[in-house]
């Protein structure tokens, strides 16, 4: 079923989603920032920190270059792919962002440690789909994100 939202409604839904996610994640800082730290060899960590600095200075291509360097060292690290997706999202390179977030999810697999990461990836995909004007895909991604958020919340409360 195709659902079309007006802009206002979409913004409202977005805000709601973000709030849901913030509650679910329980870590406001981590979710508003697209960068998450990584537990890995220090080479990857130092590249990630540098990338973060460039990201905050809005030098996105520099940040992307550093993340790609980190990925050459640790190609199956879903956090790096997620952060690269975040950089592309900030550049409004929607399609690339969505695909990179999907790649991150694929690498996260069913690993329980990455539940929150997967949630964040679905948020990126939601925003990217909206950016592309594909509200069908945005809706589906949003549903996935909400389902994960509920699961995380249930886990936390239990």
């Amino acid at each position: 079923m195709k659902v079309f939202y007006s802009n206002k409604l979409r913004q409202l839904l977005n805000r709601l989603l973000t709030i849901t996610l913030l509650i679910a994640g329980g870590n406001a800082d981590a979710l508003t920032s697209r960068f998450i730290p990584v537990d890995s060899t220090s080479a990857v960590e130092s590249l990630l920190n540098e990338a973060k600095t460039y990201y905050e200075m809005k030098q996105f291509e520099q940040a992307a270059a550093l993340l790609e360097r980190a990925l050459r060292i640790d190609p199956r690290n879903p956090i790096l792919w997620h952060n690269l997706a975040g950089v592309r999202l900030a550049q409004e390179d929607w399609k690339r962002a969505a695909n990179l977030a999907t790649k991150s999810n694929t690498l996260a697999g069913s690993n329980d440690n990455y539940k929150e990461l997967r949630l964040r990836n679905w948020v990126i995909i939601t925003q990217a789909c909206e950016g592309m004007g594909d509200f069908n895909c945005a809706q589906e991604a949003r549903n996935r994100a909400q389902a994960l958020a509920r699961a995380l919340q249930a886990e936390k409360s239990s």
């Binding site: 060899t41 080479a43 050459r72 069913s110």
Partner: protein
């Protein structure tokens, strides 16, 4: 107005005649008359002369100011990035440093040197400008333990480094049409000793004359007379520059006149520094085949394979000694003559107080210190450079590639390339030796990074260092059973209908073309049929009959669509025979196709270039990593499981026996009709390799995928020992035991994938 002017002389002559009574006016009149003729004569001479000079002036200024040297594009390999825990053999680092022109020495004093004590390295790195940052020169200590980097420490200041990036190796150049090679230098960046040597030898009044020096000419004349030989030239550096810049080599009076005039003009318009800088970049200093080395920057690399700023007194004196005769004093051809000439430069410097006698003496006793062959005339990877040019042509004009001095940072890994070349060259020899009918074999190998699609090695045939037919890029050959992954992936995507255990019929099959009446009767490789077999075994053993039946059941158009989604862009006819690989592709196209399954269902465009910088190091373009999900991870996971079985127990089992057990590798063999083409595509989590073996004349050569290409791949993998971990199990996959022993993956949750319905298919 015109009329008034015309009238004026008449009036004046009247006035002169009128005042005739006085003597002086009369004389004035006659002298005035004569003057006028002289003036006229002068004007008649001066007008064309002045206009000629102003023409020269325009030429001098236009060319000097607009002078943009045609600079060849420089192509670099990937930089080696070192980090703690990295798998790397100490010898590989040693080779890398040697290839970068680092000097192995006992005590380090400056950048570009290193010291090795078994597994400990002390390296003084050079500053290098990359796309994302300028890495400064550092003094670092690198330690190895059992073929792993165990620590990286910077010594000044003392601290641990997480990551150290070495400068990349120069692997190719794209020359201007006139084949001039050049690296621009700035006058304030060249060693003072070089300028001093040049001034001492060529023009020691350079900083005080106006472009030409009469004294200089006289002195040269006398000096030459005394020595009875041509020891000193009379023309100033400015004149020499003018000669190189604007004039031909002819020895005529007119040219001499032009040279002097233009030298004066050049000095009038420009500073000494500007002229000196132009000279340092223009002067011809060596020739190798077609390639001409112009300027001190390239000469340092041409003779010493080091940057200009690292050269010492005797090296700089040698460069200056070449100014007057690069071929006459060619140090590679005439070492004795070159030493004498170099020592003459050193004597001159001492004589003029630019260096002290002791230093001169030490330098005079130094060996020439040049490399055996000019660095940078023949580059070892012509096939890869072709690929790079191919990709660059999509974004740059050919003339810009040849003249703008672009710096191109590529993905080539010289170590993997070297191992690939060895496996290919030795493998082809061995195959020819062991199979009597097999000769004139050629081959190709493409190695990429499984996740990001960077091309790491590109091997072309038996003589990989010679440019010629570029097989990995251009050999279009039938891919045989390599195509089968498209059939099986199409089936596995229908996860409710097909699983790895779905029974397939491997029974005789025939197809009749309803238009021509032609009958197509495919056969298995062993000419037998195997009855009902599980799907994954049909793929692992590459059974033709089962595959054709499955493909016909799914529909040829579906298979074609899957091939396109996998990344095959070439058009092909849709016939049942395409199910067995009548489709023809190049090795790199096959690599692109297999890349999609090696990276878990994401199409990753193959890239040979990372970044392009202009000649000053300003970033122009980045070829960023991008992925495009074409298949859900789950069916790709199942397909890859079957391809792992193909390596372990299927068509690849003979080669697999030679590989370490802990490597999880997937792969597929391919053989075309009459054994004309032997293919193998193999991948793990780190590398994807596509190997082809066949003959250039397309004649049968008696090798199947398993007995040809795969053998070469096996050797390559054994030497490289890539990291190869099991693929990550997607959410929707569950492992189930069958027969109590074998565990087989199934798609259980058809919804819990990572693919959005409208983006996936």
């Amino acid at each position: 107005m015109t009329r008034t002017r015309k009238n004026r002389p008449t009036y004046r002559s009247d006035r002169q005649r009128y005042s005739n009574a006085k003597r002086s006016p009369s004389r004035r009149q006659t002298t005035g008359f004569r003057f006028k003729w002289r003036w006229l004569a002068l004007i008649i001479i001066m007008i064309p002369l002045m206009s000629y000079i102003s023409m020269l002036d325009v030429k001098v200024r236009e060319q000097f100011e607009g002078k943009r040297w045609a600079l060849p594009a420089r192509v670099y390999a990937r930089p080696l990035e070192l980090y703690t825990g990295m798998r790397l053999m100490p010898n590989t680092l040693d080779d890398e440093l040697k290839a970068l022109g680092f000097e192995k020495i006992d005590t380090l004093s400056e950048p570009g040197q290193y010291q090795r004590k078994s597994n400990d390295f002390l390296i003084n790195t050079r500053t290098f400008k990359f796309w994302d940052a300028t890495d400064p020169s550092r003094l670092v200590q690198i330690r190895f333990q059992s073929d792993k980097v165990s620590s990286i420490n910077e010594l000044k200041p003392e601290r641990q480094l997480a990551l150290l990036r070495l400068e990349p190796k120069l692997i190719g150049k794209i020359y201007p049409t006139h084949n001039e090679d050049r690296i621009l230098v700035r006058v304030n960046e060249v060693p003072d000793l070089l300028v001093n040597a040049l001034i001492a030898m060529e023009d020691h009044n350079f900083f005080s004359h106006y472009g030409i020096s009469i004294r200089g000419m006289l002195r040269a004349f006398i000096a030459n007379l005394k020595a009875g030989d041509w020891v000193q030239g009379g023309s100033t550096l400015t004149q020499q520059l003018v000669k190189n810049f604007y004039l031909t080599d002819e020895r005529t009076l007119k040219r001499k006149f032009n040279e002097a005039t233009m030298a004066l003009l050049l000095e009038w318009h420009y500073s000494k520094e500007q002229i000196l800088e132009a000279y340092l970049n223009e002067v011809f200093l060596g020739q190798d085949g077609n390639r001409a080395a112009h300027g001190m920057g390239i000469a340092a690399q041409f003779y010493f394979n080091r940057p200009l700023e690292e050269l010492k007194l005797p090296d700089l004196a040698l460069l200056v000694s070449l100014v007057r005769g690069a071929s006459m004093y060619n140090p590679r051809k005439h070492p004795q003559r070159a030493i004498e000439r170099r020592n003459l430069v050193l004597d001159k410097m001492a004589e003029q107080g630019m260096i002290n006698l002791a230093d001169a003496e030490i330098a005079k006793n130094a060996p020439l210190g040049i490399t055996e062959k000019p660095f940078g005339s023949v580059f070892p990877y012509p096939a890869f450079i072709d690929l790079v040019r191919d990709q660059l042509r999509q974004d740059y004009r050919e003339e810009d590639l040849r003249s703008e001095g672009l710096q191109i940072f590529t993905t080539l890994d010289p170590y993997i390339q070297k191992v690939g070349e060895n496996s290919m060259v030795n493998g082809l020899k061995r195959l020819e030796r062991n199979n009597r009918q097999t000769n004139h074999l050629e081959g190709a190998m493409v190695v990429t990074n499984s996740d990001n699609g960077e091309v790491l090695a590109f091997v072309n045939g038996k003589n990989p260092h010679y440019a010629g037919f570029n097989r990995p890029l251009n050999a279009v050959r039938p891919i045989g059973s390599l195509v089968k992954i498209a059939v099986y992936l199409t089936a596995l995507e229908h996860s409710r209908t097909y699983s790895l255990l779905s029974p397939l019929d491997d029974m005789p099959y025939q197809w009749v073309d309803k238009y021509t009446g032609e009958v197509w009767k495919p056969q298995n490789y062993d000419y037998r049929s195997h009855g009902r077999i599980p799907l994954y075994r049909a793929l692992a053993n590459s059974y033709n009959l089962a595959t054709v039946r499955l493909g016909m059941e799914l529909g040829l158009n579906k298979i074609r669509e899957t091939l396109h989604r996998l990344g095959v862009e070439r058009d092909f006819d849709v016939y049942p025979s395409m199910l067995l690989g009548s489709v023809s592709l190049t090795p790199i196209e096959v690599a692109q196709m297999y890349q999609t399954i090696a990276s878990g269902g994401f199409r990753v465009p193959l890239r040979a270039i990372r970044e392009v910088l202009n000649h000053e190091g300003k970033p122009l373009q980045r070829y960023a990593l991008s992925v495009d999900q074409r298949f859900d991870a789950a069916p790709v996971f199942l397909l890859n499981y079957a391809l792992q079985q193909a390596v372990r127990i299927g068509t690849g089992r003979h080669v697999a026996q030679t590989l370490p057990n802990n490597l999880v590798l997937a792969g597929k063999t391919g053989t075309s009709n009459d054994l004309r083409d032997s293919w193998f595509a193999g991948f793990g989590t780190e590398l994807l390799t596509v190997t082809w073996v066949g003959r250039d004349d397309n004649k049968p050569m008696g090798l199947s995928g398993g007995s040809g290409a795969m053998v070469i791949w096996g050797d390559f993998i054994q030497k490289i020992r890539p990291q190869s971990l099991p693929p990550i199990t997607p959410n929707s996959i569950q492992w189930r035991s069958i027969d109590g022993t074998t565990r087989i993956p199934f798609i259980v949750n058809h919804h819990s994938n990572n693919t959005l319905a409208d983006r996936g298919n």
